[in-house]
Symmetry: C2
Subunit: 419 residues, 2 copies
């Protein structure tokens, strides 16, 4: 690229810029995909939507008492069209879709699935993990004894040829996937790629797409991709039970006090119900009724999400502008530009993302640890950084992005000069 | 006992009384331990205790966002003295202690315990089940692959000699127990018996008391037994990690929308935290804050429980009076007379409880299926009936108890005449 003397002066500039940033003594944090307080304020009225005089669901259920394993039907009817699943194949649960994921995987390990009653846990069991991906998916699966196999992604989703090759092993039981505004790249699986995933031959008869639709309605732009009807795509491909759909309102209403969802093929939902009935009495129906009243209908959710976008989109734009201004001209890195979700992925030169994270930490910008986006925390190219711009204020996000740019510039010129 | 002709006329009388009752065409249900609506009303103010302007815990936590795996410390401090556990060894969770039970047992099956890291699931695993006991305990454990071994109880708790004999098998990993106002007998484990359970030699180094303190504060009488400090008793006996304590507010505030608790020895709580951190982000802290504000302190819980007793105790008394009036003179059955909890156990003559349940169902009184109080639904003596008097109105409870008495009288004289 440039001559050594040019690089040397670039490094000096980058180093000076970094030192200037670090000298400000800031304390910024763009590590986790948490909603900002202003986003949580949007659902303030939900908190008092059920009171001691008015606690019955539209269908007449006393939400304060036991029972109702499926969750309130009125809540399922609001979210079913948004998730593109039939309401009678949608269950509503507690405050975390991670619980549904844990339960479904544990049931499969202990009892097999709706398709094959041989328990996954009786032999070796592996999951495909498109990378970069969501650290909690990997941690959960590892804790349940799955071996995690990484597969690459492109802009349309996981690379099918690689998935198919690995799925020739009957121990490969499924694949994690955040199909819409993927954590952390923000890419959305295309319908064509989803059809391939639905149809893909696999050695395990109950190969399962762990379809974590965490950002199904989390659009940031007027123009955005459509949610996919993965259950129908799977059914059309002859695998009606292949997808397990997960979602929650954690980033719609209140993180940690929302409601979660599970959907699947008809037999899978029966299987889930039968297994859940042995370990659970029922979800918090009062909180489900709060959600029913707060949203009224599916359109109410969409209106609500546009208010989120008004808060979140400027933060995404601030990061993208800082990256373009600071790194674009010299092409020192690449980054995704999502239409929704909670994350931007920055791809640095190979071998320096850990250095960038370290520099940033020392300069007062906390970043997700390098490697967190990969199974076992191992990013083989050491070049992926997840940016989570939602939680800080817009001013803080702008500052943090400037700091991040300074770190990438410094680490990049260090590498170029060394290499 | 009586001469055949006496018995024959008794049977005629019993039959006529039963037919008279059945002819009323009632529809009564004393099957499940659900709180009555009036009990749920007691916690009405809890529902609006957190609103959009006032959502921070006393310690300053924004309860609307992610995090806080242990649960709110202020809630744990309210319930720790009531459960006789240290607050820093008490975790507060979601809406069901059954979830904590499932999680703890699943972690032990997959990863071993704080005492022994050999996964229980790697070999045969069995649990001791004092009978009669709680059907959901049995169903849960069976679904997790445990073999269930019944052991008898007396008025002070499980029979130690039998427990100890069975625990010579290293596959015996623990024992279910509802120590206070046991489901369904209502008996409370004495301190002497608890000390024996704490000290009992077992082949499994991590033999665990599954101490489900579901009715820890559910007293019905002024005079009542004290809660036991089982963690200290276990520590004094040299087994500081032996007890896992479970509890919830399901029958304190709102069934299905309460908060749950887990406590254990210091290493066990660390073990639980570490494992939970891989499958959960944190409980619904907003609901926990509602509970903190509603109760204020431990005394607030006790005051609240006296209001429950005012509603529940007359229903227990109505059942006890009907049993005494209808069955006492002829000693046709025995029953427990609990000082708290949700259940009365009726012990009929051997071999007729299924007949009583069937007769009652046909006469409009729904009873818990015979056998439900035993593992695998098998009551070998066919003589145990669980009575759950809380949910119906007092009038309905009185009627149901009269109907039950009529059924027991009829089935008893049928048996006496046949035998």
């Amino acid at each position: 690229m440039s001559a050594p003397s040019d690089l040397s002066s670039k490094l000096d500039e980058a180093s000076a810029a970094y030192e200037e940033f670090a000298s400000r003594g800031l304390a910024l944090d763009i590590t986790r995909g948490k909603p900002a307080p202003e986003q949580l304020d949007l659902a303030a009225d939900l908190l008092t939507a059920v009171n001691g005089d008015d606690f019955r669901s539209p269908g007449g259920v006393d939400t304060r008492n036991y029972g109702g394993l499926d969750g309130l039907i009125e809540l399922r009817e609001i979210f079913a069209p948004l998730l593109k699943v039939p309401a009678d194949q949608l269950l509503a649960g507690g405050n975390a879709s991670l619980t549904f994921m844990t339960q479904a995987l544990t049931f499969a390990l202990m009892h097999g699935t709706a398709v094959d009653d041989r328990p996954w846990g009786q032999g070796p069991h592996k999951l495909l993990c498109p990378v970069p991906g969501y650290d909690r998916h990997f941690t959960l699966a590892e804790s349940l004894g799955f071996e995690l196999l990484t597969i690459p992604m492109d802009d349309e989703g996981p690379i099918i040829s690689e998935a198919q090759r690995l799925a020739e092993d009957p121990a490969v039981k499924g694949m994690w996937l955040v199909p819409m505004y993927s954590n952390p790249t923000g890419i959305t699986v295309t319908e064509a790629r989803a059809r391939e995933l639905a149809a893909m031959p696999t050695a395990a008869p109950d190969f399962t797409l762990l379809w974590d639709n965490a950002y199904a309605v989390h659009h940031l732009r007027e123009d955005h991709p459509d949610n996919l009807d993965i259950l129908s795509l799977c059914a059309e491909a002859g695998h009606p039970e292949r997808a397990w759909v997960f979602a929650s309102t954690s980033k719609i209403t209140h993180a940690g006090a929302g409601v979660s969802f599970f959907a699947g093929g008809p037999a899978t939902v029966d299987w889930m119900r039968a297994n859940l009935g042995k370990v659970a009495i029922g979800p918090d129906k009062i909180n489900q009724l709060r959600h029913v009243r707060f949203f009224s209908d599916s359109a109410g959710v969409e209106v609500h999400m546009r208010k989120h976008a008004e808060i979140v989109a400027p933060k995404f734009d601030a990061v993208l502008k800082a990256l373009e201004d600071g790194l674009g001209a010299e092409e020192l890195a690449q980054w995704t530009s999502p239409d929704g979700g909670y994350f931007i992925t920055l791809t640095t030169m190979e071998g320096i993302s850990d250095r960038v994270v370290k520099l940033a930490g020392e300069a007062g910008v906390k970043l997700t640890p390098a490697g967190a986006t990969h199974p076992y925390g191992l990013d083989p190219n050491n070049n992926i950084i997840r940016i989570a711009p939602t939680m800080p204020t817009l001013d803080e996000v702008e500052l943090a992005a400037q700091g991040l740019v300074a770190c990438v510039r410094l680490a990049s010129y260090e590498k170029l000069l060394a290499g």
